[in-house]
């Protein structure tokens, strides 16, 4: 039986509350991990550990951090992700809502892209929920 989206959200919320020291009610689906919840780079490793444990999955680094794409001159020109690069990002992260980022795809803004809902979507793709 696959988990419902509510069950996934609750576990993701608990992982983020634990990893980031935020309150339950701050972890809304639309909250961004970095901007709204204050995640720093080292927190992502912690979040990964907590999600792996909560859902019994393994999460490869490149799944959530497409640094190889964002530092590849084939996909980035003058700090802006090219059309080809956007295609690559969408292939890598089909679970992420990239629509806003796509309007002005500056690499420096990518770090604050992921939302709580994106994390839930990612987990759902991994557990088939």
């Amino acid at each position: 039986m696959s988990a419902t989206s509510e069950e996934i959200f609750e576990k993701v919320q608990a992982a983020l509350v634990d990893a980031l020291g935020v309150d339950d009610d701050e972890v809304t689906p639309e909250a961004t991990l970095v901007g709204d919840l204050g995640a720093e780079s080292i927190d992502f490793l912690d979040i990964v550990f907590k999600l792996e444990k909560a859902f019994n999955i393994t999460i490869p680094r490149e799944d959530l951090s497409p640094e190889d794409i964002l530092t590849n001159s084939q996909f980035v020109k003058d700090g802006i992700v090219t059309g080809e690069g956007m295609g690559e990002l969408k292939r890598r992260m089909p679970w992420a809502d990239l629509s806003k980022f796509e309007q002005n795809p500056r690499v420096q803004d990518f770090g604050n892209l992921l939302t709580v809902q994106d994390m839930c979507n990612y987990v759902a793709t991994r557990i088939g929920g």
């Binding site: 634990d18 990893a19 080292i42 927190d43 490793l45 912690d46 990964v48 550990f49 792996e52 444990k53 680094r61």
Partner: protein, 191 residues
Amino acid sequence: MWQPGLAAEALTLAEFNRGTAAEMRWMWVDRFTEFVSGSHACGLKNVSLAEEVLDGYFPGFPMFPPTLVIEGMAQLGGVLLAEHFGWEKRVVLAKVGKAVFHQAAKPGDQLHYRVVLESTQEHGAIASGTSHCDGSLQAEIDLMFAFLDDQRFADGPLFNPGELGTMLRLMKMFDVAVDAQGKPLDLSDKL
């Protein structure tokens, strides 16, 4: 009768100096008591009124600073992790996920630390630790370690050659350390 020169594990003066250079004298575990590769490490910390850290932490109430309980467990966990990865990674404490202290550690107390490796990843690991004193729970600590990557932290090794190995010998790690199959671990030439 104890005779220093006869102890098989005795260090030469040169070795001892290498492991206790002033800037590296940061050992907050007195002795390893158990070490199972990839699983867990246990160690003792004796709290003494002779330790300078007890002087100023809480004037009038000498106690061992809780942060150094965390540090001692981080040393056990860090060594556990470094050994698990063949001493190839530069392991640093990245985050303290939880730190609950149930009682103060006072002069004369002997703290029994136990750190369990919970999960490892290519970029770090998490571990959980407990400290017991006289059989009762003194502290519970969750730790997260990260590996320094060579691109962002290209400062070379964390220890001078031989330094970590000497520290671990002083802490008697290789007297108790075994691999996952229970076979004694030798001092690695990478140390």
